[in-house]
Structures are given as C-alpha cells and as structure tokens.
C-alpha cells in the first residue's frame, strides 16, 4: 500500500538533494538573468557575472586595502558583529527581565504590558533623528536601535509563553512552599530560557536589518556601511557577496543558538515529536 505523503520521510541523501535543489535553481536563474543583461549591455552592473563577483570578492575579502591596510570584509565584519552581539545580548537580558515580570506578576503586567505592546508597534526608523540625538552617533545609538527594534517582540513573546504555561505547575510550586521569587527562579526562568533563545533566533533577521539601517546612516566601518557606500555606484558585485555573507553569518548564529539550546536544555528535546 502506498503511504500517505505525511508519513513519507526522505532519506539522508534525498534530504540533501532536496535541500540543495532550490539553491541550484536560484543560481541557475541568476546566471541566466545575468547573461541576458550583460548581452544587452556589457557594462551592466545590476547582475554581474560570476567572474566579476569573484574579482570583487578577492578584492574585499582577500587583499588588504592599500589606504587603511586592513582587509575590508574582515574589518567590516568585526565592527558589525560587535554591534550586533552587543545589541542582541542587551535586548535579550532586558527582555528576560521585563518579559518574565510581565508574565508572572499581574500588577506589573497591568502596567507594562500595554506599553510594551504599543512600543512594539512604533516603527523605530521614523524616530531615528531622536535616537541619534539622545544616544549620540557612535556605537551606542546603533546598539540601541537593535535593542529598541527587537526587545519589544522578545518581551511580548516571552510574556505570552509564560501565560501559556500550564497553571498546574505554578499551583504545584506553591504547594511545595515556593515564594513568587523562587517560582520565577526555579520554575519559570529555566523553562523560559530555551523559548527566549528560540525567539532570539527569530529576531536575528530584524536585528541585522536594524544594524544595517543604523550603519547606513552613521558609521565609517561595518557591513551595512559598505553596502550603503557602494550602493550609490550600484556596485552589485560588492553588494551581493556582502548580502550572502550577512545571510551566512545570520545562519551560523541561528544554528549555533539552536545547538546551544539542545545542548543546555536537554529536557526540551526529550519530548519532541520526531520531524
């Protein structure tokens, strides 16, 4: 009997092949588009050939910039990563505190939850001038933009997750004599940390977005700065590798956080339905 499709699982090799397929198609589509445009206008910069992409990569990633004596890609990456990690760490720590008290304490929730909900709706880009004036144009404002951009989401998600916890667990902890503080520390926090990290994974995309936007406005080094700088020359041969590189970095973060979760919180995995 033929199995239902929902019960058919691809094997290892099949999975690899299927996973790569869309990327192969993408590369093919790009190559075709690029060739077509270059045929019409050999100087077209929008979809450069793989050869010029390679040249640009060699220039930015493997040779030192004669003016500054650094390899551009690495200098940019180091600067951006520092801002990103700082922003993520601060946002996560802040959200953990506010998300947990919001989820656990009805009085705090009544006060802060509507505020957080509303702040999460404010488009931070529109307030950039104010941000820059309050936090200066240096590293701080870039980190703050990331924090303002993702923390409200993290807080709301955490609050919702805590409210989804089976009420019995909190009752049970109380019957074992735990105080509010102990319940937070020993019941809520440990169960919420892995969820928070999952939420941070979902926030990686937005975090990069905010970082790039901040770097586009005020910076003299960074991945977003470089993209912005060469954008006015439509130097897609630099932009595309940078975008791929950013995506790759984000992906590495994502996978690292996932691994970290599975490693530090084994009880999460123990109960999962196999995929």
């Amino acid at each position: 009997m033929a199995r239902r499709w929902i019960n058919r699982h691809p094997g290892r090799a099949e999975r690899l092949f299927l996973g790569l397929l869309p990327f192969l198609i993408l590369i093919l589509v790009y190559a075709t588009g690029s060739a077509m445009r270059l045929e019409v206008n050999p100087n077209d910069k929008l979809l450069p050939s793989f050869a010029s992409l390679g040249n640009a990569i060699a220039r930015v990633a493997f040779s030192t910039d004669p003016r500054t004596g650094v390899v551009l890609l690495w200098a940019d990456t180091a600067a951006s990563l520092e801002r990103l990690v700082l922003g993520l760490v601060i946002a996560t720590a802040l959200s953990l505190v506010i998300g947990v008290v919001n989820g656990v304490l009805p009085y705090v929730r009544a006060g802060l939850s509507p505020m957080v909900a509303i702040v999460s709706m404010i488009p931070p880009m529109a307030l950039l001038p104010v941000l820059f004036i309050v936090f200066g144009l240096d590293e701080l404002s870039k980190v703050v933009l990331i924090v303002i951009g993702i923390a409200p989401f993290l807080m709301r998600d955490l609050e919702a997750r805590i409210l989804e916890m089976p009420g019995e667990q909190l009752i049970k902890a109380q019957t074992l004599g735990a105080s509010s503080w102990q319940i937070v520390l020993r019941v809520v926090l440990p169960q919420m940390l892995p969820r928070l990290i999952d939420a941070v994974r979902l926030s990686l995309g937005p975090a990069w977005l905010f970082l790039i936007s901040a770097e586009a406005i005020a910076a003299d080094v960074g991945l977003g700065y470089r993209i912005f700088l060469v954008r006015r020359y439509l130097a897609m041969d630099v932009i595309l590798p940078y975008v791929v590189w950013i995506t790759l970095l984000a992906l590495i973060f994502d996978i690292a956080l996932k691994r970290f979760n599975a490693w530090v919180f084994p009880w999460m995995e123990a109960g999962r339905r196999s995929a």
């Binding site: 929008l46 586009a216 910076a219 700088l229 954008r231």
Partner: protein, 330 residues
C-alpha cells in the same frame, strides 16, 4: 562660550573629500594645534541626518549646500555662519531623461528625485528656463542612495540626481542629460558652516578650518604625483577610483584660490543666487509652515547687506577667514 574641542560632521561628496583627507594626513591637526584647539571631523553616511544632528546641537559645524543651510538650521532657528564657500556645482547636478532628447520632453512625466533638495531646485530652475511650471511634472521622492537602482527600473523615465549617482545613471546608453547645473553656475554651493555663536566666541576655529582647507586644496590641485596620490586617496574614501573622482571634480568648481572664494562671497551674485534659493524654499514651505513671506529668515552678507528680516538673521556669509587666507595672515 570659549572652548577648545570642536566637532564637524561630514558626508561623502566630491567637493568635501579634502576634509577627511586633511584629517587623516594631519593637516587639520597641524592647523588646530597652531591655534591651540582640536577639531574632529566625523563621518555621517546620511546627508540629511548630518544636518539634523548639527541643527540639534550635536556638532559645531557641518558641510552642507547653501539651500539646506538656509532651510534646515537657519529656518530651525540655529544661527549659522558660512566660514568657507568650498565650491559650486558646475555640472555635478543634472536632469536625465530616458529615451528623450530635450528638457521639454519632461512635460507630464514622473520625475524621480530627492524632493526639497538641490535636485528639486535644479529641476525648478530648469523648468523655469523653458517656461514650464512644476505642476507640469509630478515628482516622486527617491532616496539618493537608491536613485541609481531606481533609474535602472523600467518604469522610471526621468531622474534628477547629483554625483556620483548622476555619473552612474548617465552610463546607461538610453539616458540623456538634458539640463545640468552648468546652466545655473554658482547657485548650488557647497559650504562649510559653523554655529555663529560658537564662531563668535572661538574665531580660532574659523582660522584653523580655513588654513587646513586651502592647504589641502593646493595639494590636490597639483598635477604631480603627490597631488594625484591625494586625489586617489579621496577617490578611495568616497568609494570610487581616480578616474571616477577626477570626472566628478571636473564638474565641481572648487575655489582653490582663497582670493576667488573671498571675492565670490562678497559679490552681488551671491545675493542674487540666495534670493532665488529662498524664493524656491518659501514656495515649498521650507522656511517653516507658518512663514508669512520669504523674508522671515534673514540672510546676511559681507558689508552689512541683508536679505529678508534684519531682526532675524540666521544665516551669515562671512568672508573673514577666506580673506585672512588670501592675505596669508593665518
């Protein structure tokens, strides 16, 4: 108040690249040291943001065009002095049409440009020159960073831009430049401005800036290896190469000689140009929504000439430092 540390915001633009070069090569420091002060040039990517930051008081000075100096800090009540008139756009701004030959073809088209910027001014002047009105076209506000890509988009037919974007746009074979700033020489100026109060309390700042500026200009104007090396570096800093940068310089009229700069600042032309600019600004509500006439913001020129409200002078063209440089008294 008297102080010793000053911050100036700069953005990438052909006529302003001498500043970061001067900073990196110690020319700024040399002159600042001479007057016992320190000057830091900080790069901002977003041009409007740099002016906003200056207006909000985060910087003592900024590199800006004449129109933006009038409409942003001056109209915002920040009394601003022009220390140096660095250059004027002499082809650096242009109107480009896709598949059309003359400016008259623009009628009825959608024009992509940075609204309320010098591009907008250029367009207005261009339309004016052939008897069209602004209402004969419709404008689409387009970010300067993305205007090259926008121009490549199939549904965009008319663009106003400045360099280096303009040069990129013109590279496309079906694009024709139909009007540019060589037709309105001197009207679009690139300035170094400083908060008037700060300058009054610290004239040393003006002297140091003028000294560093003209030394750097002299260096880059040289046709020898050193001059070329300087320009090459400026090219790198602005994200292009030497030929690209030289091409941009060609359409930028730099006042290399301080005497010329001082003379232009004192001329009647500049009053005429500023009157055109303030008329445009007023018509586009740039002098404040409540402004009753184009006279609300006063503009002062050397020799006591004033355009507009003399009791509310917020933009002052000051030839003192250019003249000191010309006289070799720095």
């Amino acid at each position: 108040a008297e102080k010793t540390d000053f911050k100036i915001a700069w953005t990438i633009y052909a006529g302003w690249m001498p500043w970061p070069y001067a900073q990196e090569h110690g020319i700024v420091k040399k002159w600042a040291d001479k007057y016992g002060i320190s000057i830091e040039f900080q790069q901002i990517n977003d041009y409007v943001e740099s002016i906003n930051q200056y207006t909000a008081g985060k910087f003592d000075g900024v590199l800006v065009t004449n129109m933006d100096a009038l409409t942003i800090p001056a109209a915002g009540g920040v009394d601003t002095s022009v220390v140096l008139v660095g250059d004027y756009s002499n082809g650096n701004d242009g109107v480009v049409l896709k598949g059309a030959k003359s400016l008259a073809d623009i009628k009825g088209q959608k024009v992509n440009l940075v609204e309320l910027s010098v591009s907008h001014y250029l367009l207005a002047r261009g339309l004016d020159s052939i008897g069209l009105k602004e209402s004969d076209v419709s404008t689409v506000n387009t970010s300067d960073a993305d205007i090259v890509a926008a121009a490549a988009s199939p549904d965009v037919t008319a663009v106003v831009a400045w360099n280096p974007q303009l040069a990129e746009i013109k590279k496309s074979p079906d694009m024709t430049e139909v009007f540019d700033s060589t037709k309105i020489p001197g009207e679009i100026m690139d300035l170094a401005v400083v908060n008037t109060e700060t300058l009054k309390d610290n004239p040393k700042l003006g002297k140091a800036l003028a000294g560093a500026w003209f030394e750097t200009l002299a260096l880059m104007a040289r046709d020898d290896a050193e001059g070329k090396a300087a320009r090459e570096e400026m090219a790198k800093l602005s994200g292009t190469d030497l030929p690209g940068y030289d091409a941009q310089l060609k359409t930028t009229y730099l006042y290399t000689d301080p005497k010329d700069a001082a003379a232009f600042t004192r001329s009647d032309d500049i009053v005429k140009y500023m009157d055109l600019v303030r008329s445009f600004s007023f018509e586009h509500n740039l002098l404040g929504e409540g402004a009753a006439s184009k006279d609300v913001v006063g503009i002062a020129f050397p020799g006591g000439k004033v355009l507009g409200d003399a009791a509310n002078v917020k933009l002052r063209f000051d030839d003192t430092y250019e003249q000191l440089a010309a006289d070799g008294k720095l």
